[in-house]
Symmetry: D2
Subunit: 295 residues, 4 copies
């Protein structure tokens, strides 16, 4: 869907406004219609607050209706393609469209239990989570009481809306919905950036399986041209960076053992705050290395 | 087989001596018989030198006969149990008795190529190598010329004999056939050893599969009660140590993220010198770690 | 004074026993006489407990008399040599016999204030402290009330006695009165101990002046032949280790900048627990280093 | 002196041009006059090359005259104020206007020896050096032969001119005459930048004395608002950064020892390339730290 500018939105009449932003909240153009009264919006954050305010101050039955309009995660509707394009894209980003049979069964069981206990679908902003984290959330939230879960559902709905809004509206400001994952490699033997180091980033599931997210190579500054992850939340998950330092030192003609003490260095870490900056560098010699969460 | 003391060996007649040490060199008691002349031996090293001297100064056809008496690695005889207990134990230590079909085929092909080129079995002291390293040696040595390979075979035979001798004879000294792999974990957030950290040591094959070698837990000094590997050569191979630091910091009531930035820290390294000491420690906080080859 | 064995002490009569241990508590042989009743002592710790028990259970006036028999720190008696050899040796170990005029004036002022407030001399086990730390203790303890200070004085007297006893009596066990300061240097560029690195240890006063304690050179293991400090408490103080790594890397023919990025690496740290082990290593390349309190 | 733009220079006649740039080369407006022929200059680098080209291709006697017009370092003329403002400013930047008697005597001796051997003044671009480095250069270059020293003098004169030119002329480009020294402090116990850490930068002379260059405090990113040194060459010298981490951790309410193991952390390093970027960070917990030359 094409982007719309904040200025254009401010100039629209109510109907056009509701059309432009009607799907920011799933099947619920009334949210945009309510927010319309607060025009003009000088910032995207102001628009987002107006919309989430409309949701938070709505009557309880309207809130419940909003919640009920969301599809199950990895549910029957999702499988059959009977969900909105937004939802399909979001569920796919977390890998919910490529579940193993066991995982599908787990979601099925959890959806049923959640519906039975709370009479509503389980809602989470899936773009902020890896598959393991969604399942962990699901298990934990099943233990909550009903008011807590209703609040949690609305919070997650507003997060989903923020991501949709940030992607949809061109404005002078941005919503705080993006994180950044970056790295750099420093050759502490030469006191200089390590250029040409091949890097691979994997998501590591609790089952032990790894999914390649991307590959990159360090430039003359020992950094990758682009951040490893940017312009999106970093899904809450466990990751592994693998640095091919053996090949790097071989190219440097550095005398090393055969086979070299260090070849591919794995660094395994988890992201807990999807909107934060995680800088995970490698300081390395052929015989030692350090890493840390930097900034 | 029971150990024999150097003193007892020094008091034996030639026949008893050859019986006691006849299998140190595969099917070749003549080596012990020749070394017998150099009695008495004040050290195990002196005995080893006398035996390897007998091999190195033997006539070429005798050397070739000695070489020819060795079984193929992962060969037909090994499969059928038709090799000496020493050889069986040694081949098993390197995992040659549990090869995949592909690996078995690779050994078969290499054995055939080696026999065709050199007219003798390929000999390597398998206890000094992991499976990958044996295959790499095999591939590399196929490119050598015949005199180089004959020398290589005798060198490896003497290494095999050293390991057998060191295990067999009680003496005031030891042969230099053992390495040592150790670790310790330091909690640099508290400036103290990290106690109770679960550690697992894996051998990592080039195919990516990992084989668990052992599990241990750090004691109050942040060390394992016993070295991870000792009293044997450390096979030339790639290893991975995995440290369960997430569980450790959780027990310390250290405030960490959820999920914690570091949970299981993998350190992957290779051993190139089987008779050396590799100390691979972990210095760790919930947000950073370092490792190095220490001593 | 010659050492005496625990066995010999156990065989002595009361008079000989009191003579042998009469000066363990300053001018107060009655402590040894009281402890005599608890013979025989199977360990040095048992003897120490018997003597400190005699002090702790003595009548208040006897305790006050014991306290009063101690000389002032850096006081008139100490200056004129009118104190016991034990006290002289102890005060000298902390540098109280080589004070600047300002420091002497500070001690004079504090002694006067302490006498005026508490009617007794200020007592501290000086061998556990550097000069700065003694002055800090002095300032802090002036703020206490009288019962607290009386307890503190007895505690310090028992620490002084423990050090005297441990040095005097040969026994199967030792009292826990000694700490240890050690270091090692690892060249993480070569993955090996750094041999031949010149090391100097200084005590750094809060005034900024440094006093050289000792110099040493690392051996083939990257360690010093003896611990930097051992067989005594490590005085509570700030220290600086200086490692001549520039000269080391120059000898290694390691290519470095001119002048080298790292030449003499200073590591400044404080000791707070005199009876503990402080291991303060240096992991170093020509362009980076790490240190930590190890064990 | 006010800056002049490259455009303005390109529009000037020869006389105005020579007036504007006449003192870029000491007392030698002929260099600017010669370069005038190469107008217009699209970049400052082109102008610099034209001027240095004029010097390098001048006749030998003209080059010697240019060299001879430079004042002695810390010489009689400098002391009496009888040198150009440029030279005075430059000599002062290296501290040559505040020499001890011993240092003054050393310069006097070296100036005399250099004049005696080469018949010209010793020239070095002092803004690229600390005092120790100038003296070291002086001693070393006295061993050269005459052609080498003549080339060295011209090279240094062109470096002096580059610095003057870069400060004088506003242009789309800059000459490569500036370095940068920066730091940051990372609290690896919390995995976050350390804010509010007081930092002091000293130049450390070989005599052991330290001269405070600046003080700064880390901001929320753990960095200083401005680089420690920028917009100038970093003088070749030894430096010490001191980080007040003890006070920082005390503010964090981090439990530490008393006195804390780490209080003020000194990092001593040398700069060898004045036009490079030196990033010297500190990764620190209360019990450990690392530093390295980063980028």
């Amino acid at each position: 869907m094409a982007m719309v500018s904040l200025d254009d939105l401010n100039r629209m009449d109510r109907e056009a406004f509701a059309t432009a932003l009607g799907d920011v909240f799933e099947h619920s153009p009334w949210v945009a219609e309510t927010a319309f009264a607060a025009r003009p919006f000088s910032t995207l954050n102001a628009l987002h607050e107006a919309m989430t305010g409309a949701v938070q101050t709505a009557a309880a039955d309207r809130q419940m209706a909003l919640i009920a309009l969301h599809p199950d995660l990895a549910g029957k509707a999702a499988r059959e393609g009977a969900i909105t394009p937004n939802s399909r894209h979001e569920q796919s980003s977390a890998g919910l469209d490529r579940l193993s049979d066991d995982e599908f069964a787990a979601f099925h069981r959890l959806n049923a239990a959640y519906h039975a206990k709370f009479g509503m679908p389980f809602i989470v902003c899936v773009r902020r989570h890896g598959k393991d984290s969604i399942l962990r959330q699901f298990e934990q939230r099943l233990h909550n009481d009903e008011p807590t879960e209703r609040r949690a559902a609305l919070t997650e709905i507003c997060r989903i809306a923020a991501l949709r809004l940030d992607a949809r509206v061109a404005a002078p400001d941005r919503l705080n919905v993006c994180g950044r994952l970056s790295t750099h490699v420093l050759d502490t033997q030469r006191g200089a950036p390590a250029a040409g180091v091949a890097i691979a980033l994997f998501e590591v599931a609790s089952s032990g399986t790894s999914r390649l997210i991307l590959q990159a190579t360090t430039n003359a500054d020992g950094r990758t041209e682009r951040p490893l992850i940017a312009e999106q939340p970093i899904p809450i998950a466990q990751y592994e960076l693998r640095f091919a330092v053996g090949a790097y030192f071989a190219r440097q003609k550095t005398p090393v053992a055969e086979p070299p003490f260090l070849d591919v260095v794995p660094i395994r870490f988890a992201v807990a705050e999807p909107e934060s900056h995680y800088h995970v560098p490698l300081l390395v010699t052929p015989w030692s290395y350090s890493t840390y969460r930097g900034s």
